[in-house]
Point group: C2
Chain length 273, copies 2
């Protein structure tokens, strides 16, 4: 039986920051299974006390729980610090040194990280999401001049989720355009893309993996056959090479890794944090 520890991820906002921090830290420990419980919107002493009861209960059932928090309010944080759990607070640890370095006081405003405070920035993200949906899978060529980046690649190489992630996370307008058998027969890039080669970025994928993914969608089809996948992938790579289009291999990469690589290599300016 694996060793199990319970971890409470406590935030006065959405909990998304503390979840990410917790996930990052805990993924550095192998052989321990973590049972993660998120406690979002803990923005009052009352709510903190409710959670403290639950934490104390969990404490009586085994090893003392671990509590990671991103709480900016001192009285709220204090409730957890006296809960008997092993507590680490992100803001408490880093805000003081930062205040000294900046020679400024922090505002201790709760729930700031993921609030919709910057309306212009928020609008950019929403527009980017709409843009990605409207320009998914080559639906339309209209507005391509306004794209920050155009992803190309064979069907099921990961273009759509990457575009959506670029939009939601970075506020980037990402269109995507499939490279299909007809393009490989003509052996030229689709005419529509011609004027935009400079902002085109490719995704490629191992034919074995592509065949697996396509077989889930259309089992036993020619589309999913390994030989067909191999041919499509090699044709797409040859075409991108000839056109000077940079590409990334998505086979073993997460959407986050693909998106971050594209951001770094194309030097697109992000519109949202």
């Amino acid at each position: 039986m694996p060793f199990i520890r319970t971890v409470f991820l406590v935030s006065d906002g959405t909990g998304i920051t503390v979840e990410m921090l917790g996930h990052s830290l805990l993924s550095q420990f192998e052989g321990i299974e973590f049972r993660k419980i998120t406690a979002p919107f803990v923005n009052s002493v009352e709510k903190a006390e409710e959670w403290a009861v639950r934490i104390a209960k969990s404490s009586r059932q085994g090893e003392r729980p671990i509590v990671l928090t991103t709480l900016v309010n001192d009285p709220v944080r204090a409730v957890f610090q006296s809960s008997g759990a092993f507590v680490m607070d992100f803001f408490e640890t880093f805000l003081s040194p930062l205040e000294r370095e900046l020679n400024a006081k922090s505002t201790h405003t709760m729930g700031r990280s993921h609030s919709a405070t910057d309306k212009a920035e928020y609008q950019q993200r929403m527009e980017a999401v709409n843009f990605s949906l409207a320009h998914d899978d080559g639906i339309t060529a209209r507005d391509l001049p306004n794209a920050d980046v155009i992803l190309v690649g064979v069907s099921r190489s990961g273009k759509t989720p990457t575009c959506l992630y670029l939009a939601l996370q970075f506020g980037v307008k990402a269109a995507n355009y499939p490279l299909i058998p007809e393009d490989f027969e003509r052996d030229t890039l689709p005419d529509t893309l011609r004027p935009f080669v400079a902002k085109t970025y490719g995704l490629t994928i191992a034919p074995e993996r592509l065949s697996e993914i396509r077989n889930e969608r259309r089992p036993g089809s020619k589309y999913a056959e390994f030989d067909n996948c191999r041919l499509e992938v090699s044709s797409a790579e040859a075409m991108m090479k000839r056109e000077g289009i940079r590409w990334i291999n998505s086979t073993t990469k997460s959407i986050e890794e693909i998106a971050a690589t594209i951001m770094a290599e194309t030097k697109i300016v992000r519109r949202a944090y």
Copy 2:
């Protein structure tokens, strides 16, 4: 002129965690403008040294730069610590106390936070994204039994971006179904939704804001008229109330806040971290 400080966000992976942590901390300071530069994939001493040169250069141009890092490799981190900048590392600070608490050594594996290490989990996210796209705006009722949640609300109340975020961030299968004038005339929920009321969740929005958003899409249309928006919103709210459907007002909320609230209130189990 506002006071400007340059902040380098350094990671051996995608940089997404350090960007989020940095954003959380810096949003606690008002009146200071931060110029943020992300340095992703800094996974070798050589790459660290290239960035250290850039940091030193920035240092000579004004206030010393702030460097926030999530680096698990000691030699890589050391390069920044001797760069003359104000450096805070998120992992170094928390990993040691956590190692003591867990009585275990951390693996110091680089780029773990957003890698595609857990293939099953990754698959869940991709399936959830495909599900959201296939079930956007009531496109199909097929597979609704497999939805974790079905968002309802008037057109442009924020359903689509919320569904996409739920899929990408939490691996949750979220469908969305619009409430349209025909539904309000009949004054009943669409038949398709009837069997799924228990897992339906509503979005509402202030009519003023709705009219603004719709006017951007279809200027001067009846669809965008304030009176029409007010009528649609009040009809939708009355219908949700009658059916016992919980809802959230999206007007001043970010997608993250809406998504986190839905996760907390419906107690959907997340399938991905």
